[in-house]
C-alpha cells in the first residue's frame, strides 16, 4: 500500500489534479460555512428585533397576570394578548413559557397561583407535555424541567417512566423532577443502578429544602445499597435531616465500609455530634494508616468536644504528615489542650489556627 501511495505521489500530474480538487472542496466548504454563519447571524438579529418589539408588551401582560385577580378584565385581556402573540411562532411560545417559569420561581401566594393558572390557560402545560413525546432527549428533558418548575404534581407518573430512559442526562433530569414533584420524593433511590454524582446529590438536596421528614424514606435503609454513591448520599441526607436515630447504623458502617466510605461516615458522625461513636473512631484512627481517616477522626474528636480522645490527639500531634499535625492541633485547640511545649513549629500552628487564618 505504501508503495502504491509513493507511486501516486511520484505521478505529478495526478497529484496536481488531486490538489486542485481538494482545494476546490475546502474552498467551497469554507464559503458554505461562511454562508451558514451569516444566515445564523441574520436569523439571530431578526429574532432579537422581534423579541425587542414584543417583549415590553408581553412583560406588561405578565405583570398584570400576576397582580390582577383571575376573574378581572385585565387578567383576561392579558391572557388574550399573550395567546395572540403566541400564535406568531413557536419561538414566541417558548419565550413566554421561559418567562413564566422564570417569574414563578420568585413569586409566592396569589401571584404564583395566577401564573400557574396562566400556564394552563395558555395551553403551555400541553406544550410542555408534548415535548415529552419528542425523540430528542434534550427536548424531553426541557419539557420535564418545565413541568417540574411549574409544580405540576399530577405529571409524576408521566415523568417516572423516564427513570429508565436510554440517555443518562434524561434519567438524571427525571430523578430531579421527581425529587421536587413526587409525593415520596426519593423512592426512586431504590432502583438506582448508576452513580448519583455530587452535582446531582446537591441538586436533589436543594429540591428537598423545606420538605417534611415524614414524606422522606428511612435513609438508613440505603446504607447497604449496591451503589456506593447512593450510600454516601443517604448518609449525607441523614445528617441534613438530623436523623440522630441513625447513629447506631452509622457506627456499624464504620466496621464494614471501605476506607472512602469510612471517611464519609466519620464526617457524618462528627456533624451529628455522635459522642457514642468516640470509642469506635478512636480505635479506627489508631489502627489505620489511611491519612484521610485519621484527619476525619481528629476533626471528629475536636468537634464532639470530648477530652477522652486527648491521647489520640497527642499521638498524632507529632505525626510526620503535616496535614495530620494541623488537624491534631485544630482538635487540641477546640478541646483547650496545649501540647505545643517548646516546639516552635507547633506553636506557630497553634497561633495560626487560633487566628482562624485558614478555616
Amino acid at each position: 500500500m505504501m508503495a502504491s501511495i509513493y507511486d501516486m505521489i511520484k505521478d505529478e500530474d495526478a497529484m496536481i489534479v488531486a490538489f486542485a480538487l481538494f482545494s476546490i472542496l475546502f474552498c467551497l466548504l469554507s464559503l458554505a460555512l461562511l454562508s451558514l454563519i451569516i444566515i445564523s447571524k441574520i436569523k439571530r438579529n431578526k429574532n432579537e428585533s422581534v423579541k425587542n418589539e414584543f417583549w415590553p408588551k408581553s412583560q406588561k401582560a405578565l405583570a398584570l397576570i400576576t397582580i390582577a385577580p383571575m376573574d378581572s378584565m385585565e387578567y383576561k385581556k392579558s391572557i388574550f394578548f399573550l395567546k395572540k402573540m403566541m400564535e406568531q411562532s413557536r419561538k414566541v411560545v417558548q419565550w413566554v413559557l421561559d418567562e413564566i417559569v422564570k417569574q414563578q420561581a420568585n413569586l409566592s401566594g396569589e401571584s404564583k397561583t395566577n401564573l400557574l393558572q396562566a400556564y394552563k390557560v395558555l395551553k403551555l402545560k400541553e406544550y410542555s407535555l408534548k415535548k415529552l413525546k419528542s425523540r430528542r432527549w434534550n427536548v424531553v428533558a426541557s419539557g420535564i424541567q418545565e413541568l417540574e418548575r411549574m409544580e405540576q404534581h399530577d405529571c409524576e407518573q408521566r415523568i417516572r417512566k423516564f427513570l429508565h430512559a436510554k440517555n443518562k442526562d434524561l434519567r438524571k433530569t427525571a430523578r430531579l423532577a421527581l425529587a421536587s414533584l413526587a409525593e415520596k420524593p426519593l423512592d426512586f433511590l431504590e432502583h438506582v443502578r448508576e452513580e448519583v454524582n455530587e452535582w446531582e446529590q446537591m441538586s436533589i438536596k436543594y429540591r428537598l429544602r423545606g420538605k417534611r421528614k415524614d414524606n422522606l424514606p428511612d435513609f438508613s435503609g440505603y446504607y447497604l445499597h449496591s451503589e456506593p454513591s447512593v450510600v454516601r448520599f443517604s448518609i449525607s441526607m441523614s445528617v441534613y435531616f438530623n436523623c440522630f436515630e441513625h447513629i447506631p447504623q452509622l457506627i456499624d458502617l464504620l466496621a464494614t465500609g471501605a476506607e472512602d466510605l469510612q471517611v464519609t461516615v466519620i464526617e457524618a458522625l462528627s456533624k451529628l455530634e455522635a459522642f457514642q461513636a468516640i470509642e469506635a473512631i478512636e480505635t479506627l484512627a489508631s489502627e489505620t494508616d489511611h491519612q484521610p481517616i485519621v484527619c476525619a477522626a481528629l476533626k471528629f474528636l475536636g468537634n464532639v468536644g470530648c477530652s477522652e480522645g486527648h491521647h489520640v490527639i497527642e499521638r498524632f500531634i507529632h505525626d510526620e504528615d503535616v496535614e495530620v499535625r494541623m488537624e491534631a492541633v485544630n482538635a487540641a485547640i477546640r478541646l483547650d489542650l496545649d501540647f505545643s511545649d517548646e516546639n516552635n513549629d507547633l506553636r506557630r500552628m497553634y497561633a495560626h489556627h487560633q487566628n482562624h487564618l485558614i478555616s
Binding site: 501511495i5 505521489i9 486542485a20 481538494f22 469554507s30 460555512l33 445564523s40 447571524k41 454524582n197
Partner: protein, 480 residues
C-alpha cells in the same frame, strides 16, 4: 545515489507529516464541534443557582500571583472578591514587586499581618508575611507577601497556604466572568475522577470593561489582536475542546485553570525551572496517575470564562510567542519518556506525539520545507504547478479549519454580534496565513535559538490596560 535516498526519505516524511496533520486537524475540528454541541444541550438544562445556596459547594481558593501590578491590583482584587460562588477565598501573592503593590493593597483593604503556619509541602522563596483584612467584608482575602521567585513559585506559595479542596490559578489582570467558578467546579462534582479543569480564554482588547467586569464584547480594532481572537478560538474551542473530549488535554492555560489541590501538592506543585509551568504541571499530574494506573479526567469548559488582553505590537507578541516555544520544548524534553509509551495511555500514544510533531516540530518543518521546496524548484526537480497546487491546498485547508471554528463559535456562544464582525473575522482567517502565521513561525524558531543561547526569562511585556493605562514593566503573561 545518496541524493536519491535523501530525496525519497524527504518525500516519505512529507507524506506522513501532511497526512498526519490533515487527519489530526480534521478529527479535532469534528470532535470539538460535536463536543461543544453536546455541552450546550446539557448546559441549557443545568441550573447553576442550585449550587449557590448549597453547603455542598466544594471549597475553592483563587490564587493570583502579582508582580508590579500596583496600577490595577486594587480593582483586580475587588473583581475577584465579587464572583458568584459561596465557598471560595482569594489568595493574592505579591511576588516581591518593586512597585507599590503591597502598600496599595494594605491601604485599600485595611490589611494587618497575622501569625501563620504554611503547609510547606512545596518549597518556595521565603514568605515575608501573610495579611488578612480587619474589615469583615474582605474576610475572603488573604494576601501573601514573599520574596521574588517567579510566577510558578508564587503560585506554589498560594497552594501551600490554601486549605481548600480545589485551587484556581489565574492571572491577576485577567477578567473572570461572574459565574466562572460555578461552571468550572461542575466537572469536579460530576465526576470524582476529574483532576483539573480549564476555562476558555478569549481576547479582551477593545471590549468594554467597567469595575473589573466585562460589560460588552467587541472585536479588537487592532489587527494583531484580531488575529489572536481567531487563534484563541481555534486553540481553545477547536483543539483543546477535542483533546478534552478524548481525555488527552495536556495544557490548561495559566490564565485560568482549576486543580485538585491535594493532587497538585502530591505532584510537587508548579515547576519553577520552566517558562511552560502551566503545561508542565498538567503533564506531571497525568504522569503521576498514569504511573499509579489510576483513572482520571482533565476537562475543559467551552464557555468563555476568562478574558485577557492580547499583545498589540509585534515586539511584545514576539516575546510572548518566543516564550511559548521555549516552554513547549522544555516540557516535551522534561517528559520525553512519555512519548509513545503505552503506560501513559492517551497522553503517551496521542497527545504527546501530536504536540511533538504538529506543535513543536511544525515551525521547523515549515522553515526547512520552504528551503527544501525552493531548492527543488530552482533545480527543476519539482514543477511550479506542483508547488502552487500544494500551496493553494494548504491555504484552503487552513481557511476551512478557521471557518469551521468560527461556525462552532456562532452556533454556541455567538459572542461577536453583527454580520460585520463575522465578516471581519473571516477576513482575518483569509489573511492570517500571509500576515500572522509566518511571523508566528519566525518567533517560534527564534525562541528555540534563544533556548540554545540559554535565555530563560519571561521577557519584558507592555500592556495597554483596559482603561488605556500604559505600563512597561516585566509582568506575567498567560500561555495558551
Amino acid at each position: 545515489m545518496n541524493n536519491e535516498i535523501i530525496h525519497s526519505i524527504g518525500e516519505v516524511f512529507f507524506i506522513f507529516f501532511s497526512f498526519g496533520i490533515v487527519s489530526s486537524y480534521l478529527t479535532l475540528v469534528f470532535v470539538s464541534f460535536f463536543s461543544v454541541k453536546k455541552y450546550m444541550k446539557k448546559d441549557r438544562l443545568t441550573n447553576y443557582k442550585d449550587l449557590l445556596g448549597s453547603e455542598m459547594a466544594p471549597s475553592i481558593s483563587l490564587i493570583a500571583p502579582a508582580y508590579n501590578e500596583g496600577m490595577t491590583i486594587v480593582e483586580n482584587i475587588k473583581s475577584m472578591l465579587s464572583l458568584e460562588y459561596n465557598n471560595y477565598d482569594v489568595i493574592v501573592v505579591n511576588d516581591g514587586s518593586k512597585d507599590d503593590t503591597l502598600p496599595k493593597v494594605i491601604k485599600a483593604y485595611d490589611l494587618e499581618e497575622v501569625p501563620f503556619y504554611v503547609n510547606g509541602k512545596v518549597k518556595t522563596a521565603s514568605i515575608r508575611g501573610i495579611y488578612k483584612s480587619r474589615n469583615k467584608a474582605f474576610r475572603k482575602l488573604t494576601f501573601i507577601d514573599k520574596k521574588n521567585g517567579g510566577k510558578a513559585d508564587a503560585l506554589n506559595a498560594g497552594i501551600n497556604v490554601s486549605s481548600s479542596r480545589l485551587v484556581t490559578c489565574i492571572d491577576v489582570d485577567c477578567i473572570i466572568e461572574n459565574d466562572a467558578l460555578q461552571r468550572m467546579v461542575k466537572p469536579f462534582m460530576e465526576d470524582a475522577e476529574t483532576i483539573a479543569s480549564g476555562g476558555v480564554v478569549r481576547i479582551a482588547n477593545s471590549c468594554v470593561v467597567e469595575h473589573g467586569k466585562l460589560v460588552k464584547v467587541n472585536l479588537p480594532t487592532n489587527r494583531l489582536a484580531r488575529f489572536q481572537v481567531l487563534e484563541y478560538l481555534r486553540a481553545f474551542l477547536m483543539s483543546r475542546m477535542a483533546w478534552a473530549k478524548m481525555n488527552g488535554l495536556l495544557l490548561i492555560s495559566g490564565a485560568f485553570g482549576m486543580f485538585d489541590r491535594k493532587l497538585v501538592l502530591r505532584a510537587g506543585g508548579y515547576n519553577t525551572d520552566t517558562v511552560g509551568e502551566d503545561m508542565e504541571l498538567v503533564v506531571r499530574m497525568r504522569s503521576l496517575l498514569d504511573k499509579e494506573n489510576k483513572k482520571y479526567k482533565v476537562n475543559l469548559i467551552p464557555d468563555p470564562l476568562c478574558w485577557t488582553e492580547g499583545p498589540t505590537t509585534n515586539k511584545v507578541l514576539g516575546k510572548q510567542r518566543n516564550r511559548w516555544a521555549r516552554g513547549t520544548f522544555e516540557v516535551l524534553k522534561e517528559h520525553r519518556k512519555v512519548f509513545l509509551n503505552p503506560k501513559y495511555k492517551v497522553m503517551g500514544i496521542l497527545s504527546y506525539p501530536f504536540w511533538l510533531f504538529f506543535e513543536w516540530l511544525a515551525p521547523f518543518v515549515e522553515g526547512f520545507g520552504l528551503i527544501y521546496t525552493f531548492s527543488h524548484l530552482f533545480f527543476g526537480t519539482i514543477s511550479w504547478k506542483y508547488f502552487l497546487g500544494f500551496t493553494i491546498l494548504v491555504y484552503f485547508f487552513s481557511l476551512f479549519i478557521s471557518t469551521f471554528t468560527l461556525y462552532t463559535e456562532e452556533i454556541s456562544f455567538h459572542k461577536y454580534k453583527g454580520v460585520k464582525s463575522q465578516l471581519k473575522l473571516f477576513l482575518a482567517a483569509v489573511l492570517e496565513p500571509f500576515i500572522f502565521h509566518p511571523r508566528n513561525t519566525w518567533w517560534s524558531l527564534k525562541g528555540h535559538w534563544d533556548l540554545l543561547k540559554g535565555i530563560k526569562s519571561w521577557g519584558e511585556m507592555t500592556r495597554e490596560g483596559f482603561a488605556q493605562n500604559t505600563k512597561s514593566v516585566p509582568t506575567y503573561q498567560p500561555q495558551s
